[in-house]
Amino acid sequence: MTTYIIRRLVYTIPIVFGVLLLTFVLFTLVGGDISIEIAGKNATPETIEEIREEYGLNKPLFLSWDSQFINHFESALTFSFGRSRDRELVIDKIKRGVGPSLALTVPMFFGVLVISVSLSLFVAFVRGSVWDVLAVVICVAGMSIPYLSFILFGQYFFAYKWGLFPVFFSPGLTTAQYVALPVLIGIAAGIGGNLRFYRTVMLDEMRSDYVRTAFAKGLSPRRVLFKHVLKNAMIPIITRVVLAIPFLFLGSLLLERFFGIPGLGYLMVEAIGSRDYFVINAMTYISAILFVIFNLITDICYSFADPRVSLG
């Protein structure tokens, strides 16, 4: 196991290098010179040149120890990322956004997971019944309704019309108060696709011989479902769950924007809108790193969930 982890960590180095190279090429070469944009209206050429100097945009791209790429590489490895276009440290922005984003995405993630897995076990157990058909209809409806509709509907009725939740973030609210409605909306919008997926996984397991054997031996449905079916369905569940975790750090673009949650999703939308490459670059890099790490964790989890999986 240790050898495997070390080997995978070593593999991470070229991946991270690739990500850095790709982001650099995308943002520096394809994105073009941002100094004109930073300079704003009516800027003189001297101001533009000064901005190029301040942001190091007048340095060679690659072929120098002080090149833009080496600086990009160094700032990524040290997680310093420099200052964003509004002159705040990028890392400070990210640190500030992580909390609100996780306050939103973590309960949403567990809510969707618990409800979807539980319901999928139930509908798999009563497959073919009215409940199963109803669940499928809800799944299809949930997947078909645009995410934005959930938000607009939820915000209008639950927050404005019935006054159960705040419409939007405001300074006097606690975190629980301003994330509660977005969490509920996120769960409602996320259940459709997840339930459909887990239902398929559970149905596959329910048709297995060992389930029939377990029932034949007289085990209770609860024991069969929770002890055997759920455990054997863990591989696809782990794949879906663990690989979703890095995205929790990125927040939710729409929910954060509509509910004024100052998280990383909002930060990313703002950065894209104002072409703040310093922030976009940092977020892309962190996402890539998280994805690589959680990919490794997924593989390790496989061996715990299923002893037949070897990490040799």
């Binding site: 004109i36 944009e37 300079a39 704003g40 209206k41 009516n42 800027a43 003189t44 001297e46 101001t47 000064e50 901005i51 301040e54 200052r83 509004d86 002159r87 705040e88 922005k93 309960p107 567990f110 809510g111 618990v114 539980s118 607009l152 915000q155 209008y156 404005y160 006054g163 159960l164 939740f165 705040p166 419409v167 939007f168 973030f169 405001s170 300074p171 006097g172 609210l173 606690t174 629980a176 108060q177 301003y178 994330v179 509660a180 969490v183 609860r222 929770f226 759920l230 924007r257 509509f258 509910f259 004024g260 100052p262 909002y266 930060l267 703002e270 894209i272 809108g273 104002s274 072409r275």
Partner: protein, 603 residues
């Protein structure tokens, strides 16, 4: 613990989290304080006055930092009055030297940057420092164009800063001949040539508001989030991306609410607070909110005191006859239409090989645009066709401009002109490209509208949607062929508009059309140094006609803004140059407290 219990525990925990969020009006709800609550739609970029150019940041900053002069809150036509200055400037005969007396007893806000945390008195040197900061190239100020080639010795100071290695190396004690403090309370500015708009353009502009040197040195690069000015409010919290709040500055000098305005102000209640000490409220909170639905719902809930009416909410607010709907009347919401001094257009790049040398083509596009339909579709009929580029609210507006016929919708005439344009071009016209500075629904609908109008007269058009920075870059680098834009006057003089066609202001300057007319340039240079008089007004009108004749743009409309306010929001008189007006506003707390009951009934 078995699986069932674990499951139950998770469900119960989740339910507790959700229930904790219910009942927004109980714990954490905003108390009914004398605090103004407003939406802000843009991204705030900080509050260092010299560095700002975006509307929302300037709006917040103007409550913290003050300028030498301001516009009278109530009087119309707009009148410049002293703010930090003791009186209006004494201007030399050659109109090049301004001597400005500074008010005594004005103190900076208390801040830890000062010794003992107590703000020191404002001096004339603070204004010099502020202007030098704009000139210092290391500060990358976007406001340099304001002073470029205007003040004696300032360009040389800028040249000097270019040679400095870093911001810290710049010596601000270096003398600038045209910026002198003859004593602590007298500022003397020497201009290179007369600049009649100096007071309204520069000295009443937030960018020249003094910021304490101690604060700049103490906070360094973080000065954008630690403004220390002399204004009626001081920054309390700036939670980036969420909200910004300012609170009453206890150090603020005695300044009173105006006792006179224009006729009708007393009847409208704008003089109810005459003679009271400013500011009338304890603070202001701006919530950053970019989506229209939550902003609208918060306004209806009474959590915003005022907001601009959005296109999506027209039907809920206004009936076909322009009256408020019953629901709005029941909620005691007021609607104030305000003709802002703005002009919007479809611009042409005069350096474009297809458009630049083909006046019939540009005129054809102008004739092809149904401006009234545009206003009906996009502003709910709330706007005016612009027959020229000078906004009707300005003194030099030509009331006969409509008769000149530069904004007529005539598709047949457009088709005729296209034939002429093809002859000039030497064959079939290529596809024209329209750059739209946004990708939102509004821009897409606007782009489709323009595309359809031009196609209807036989032009082949591609509408290109792009984000704002890409658009700006395209226009600044003179690579946009046709583009849509607009401008809102920053002062009551039309010079703002005229400068957009002066050839020395080509992109990335304000002349986005890259228009060149030597005769126009000569006249512009002449009027730029002329004091306000009927002769200058005549020249302004002549210059406008020259531009309209050459058609570097098809001017489309002058916008009317509809502002909504709750009944409790007082002294909300519309102002075209409205920065820093929060000190005059007031909240009727009783009415605000009673609103939730009223809303329940109407809901």
């Amino acid at each position: 613990m078995n699986y069932g219990k674990k499951f139950l525990a998770i469900v119960v925990t989740g339910a507790i989290v959700v229930l904790a969020g219910c009942g927004s009006r109980k714990p954490g709800a905003e108390p009914n304080e004398m605090v103004i609550r407003l939406p802000a739609s843009g991204k705030l970029t900080g509050f260092d006055p010299g560095m700002l150019r975006d509307f929302d940041s300037i709006e917040v900053c103007s409550h913290i930092c003050e300028t030498l002069y301001q516009y009278h809150f109530l009087k119309r036509p707009y009148e410049i009055i002293p703010l930090l200055a003791e009186e209006m400037p004494q201007i030399s005969e050659d109109m090049q030297t301004y001597t400005i007396k500074i008010k005594r007893g004005v103190y900076f806000q208390n801040d830890k940057c000062f010794e003992g945390g107590k703000g020191r008195e404002l001096k004339a040197q603070d204004f010099i420092y502020s202007i030098k900061r704009i000139a210092d190239i290391k500060n990358l100020s976007q406001n340099w164009s304001l002073f470029d080639d205007k003040i004696v010795g300032l360009d040389e100071f800028r040249e000097y800063t270019k040679g400095c290695k870093s911001r810290e190396d710049v010596d601000y004690s270096r003398d600038v001949e045209g910026l002198q403090a003859s004593d602590d309370y007298t500022l003397v500015v020497d201009l290179k040539r007369p600049w009649p708009q100096f007071v309204s353009t520069a000295l009443a502009d937030t960018s020249t508001a003094p910021m304490a040197k101690e604060a700049v040195e103490f906070y360094g690069k973080d000065i954008i989030s630690h403004p220390v000015g002399t204004g009626p409010f001081k920054l309390k919290v700036w939670q980036r991306g969420s909200y910004v709040s300012v609170v009453r500055n206890p150090n603020f000098r005695i300044e009173l609410y105006p006792s006179e305005g224009e006729p009708g102000d007393a009847e409208a209640g704008y003089l109810d607070d005459a003679g009271k000490r400013l500011p009338l409220v304890d603070g202001i909170v701006w919530t950053i909110i970019q989506e229209s639905q939550p902003a609208w719902l918060l306004f209806l809930q009474g959590k915003f005191d005022a907001m601009a009416l959005q296109k999506d909410n027209f039907d809920e607010v206004i009936l076909g006859n322009g009256e408020l709907t019953d629901k709005m009347k029941q909620l005691e919401i007021h609607l104030s239409p305000f003709q802002e001094p703005s002009t919007f257009w479809v611009g042409f790049n005069m350096q474009d090989p297809v458009l630049g040398k083909n006046k019939p083509l540009r005129r054809a596009i102008s004739y092809a645009l149904d401006r009234q339909k545009f206003i009906d579709l996009f502003y709910g009929g709330l706007g005016h066709v612009s027959h020229g580029f000078v906004a009707p609210q300005l003194d030099s507006y030509d009331p006969t401009i409509k008769e000149k016929g530069f904004a007529v919708y005539d598709p047949n005439k457009a088709r005729e002109l296209i034939k002429e344009a093809e002859k000039i071009h030497g064959g079939e016209l290529p596809e024209l490209k329209i750059a739209m500075g946004g990708t939102s629904t509004f821009y897409r609908q606007y782009g489709q509208f323009l595309g359809r109008q031009l196609k209807a007269v036989g032009l082949v058009v591609e509408v290109q949607y792009m984000d704002w920075p890409t658009y700006i870059e395209k226009v600044n680098t003179r690579s946009a062929q046709i583009f849509t834009a607009g401008v809102i006057a920053s002062m009551p003089d039309a010079e703002d508009f005229l400068s957009m066609f002066y050839s020395k202001n080509w992109s990335p300057g304000s002349n986005r059309f890259n228009y060149l007319n030597p005769e126009y340039d000569k006249l512009y240079e002449k009027v730029a140094v002329m004091p306000d008089n009927p002769k200058r007004k005549g020249l302004y009108r002549k210059m406008e006609l020259m531009v309209l004749e050459d058609c570097p743009a098809a001017f489309s409309c002058h916008r009317v803004i509809y502002r909504l306010q709750h009944d409790w929001y007082k002294n909300y008189k519309q102002h075209a140059f409205q920065h820093g007006m929060g000190k005059y506003r007031r909240i009727d707390l009783k009415k605000r407290a009673a609103y939730s009951e009223l809303l329940k009934k109407v809901k």
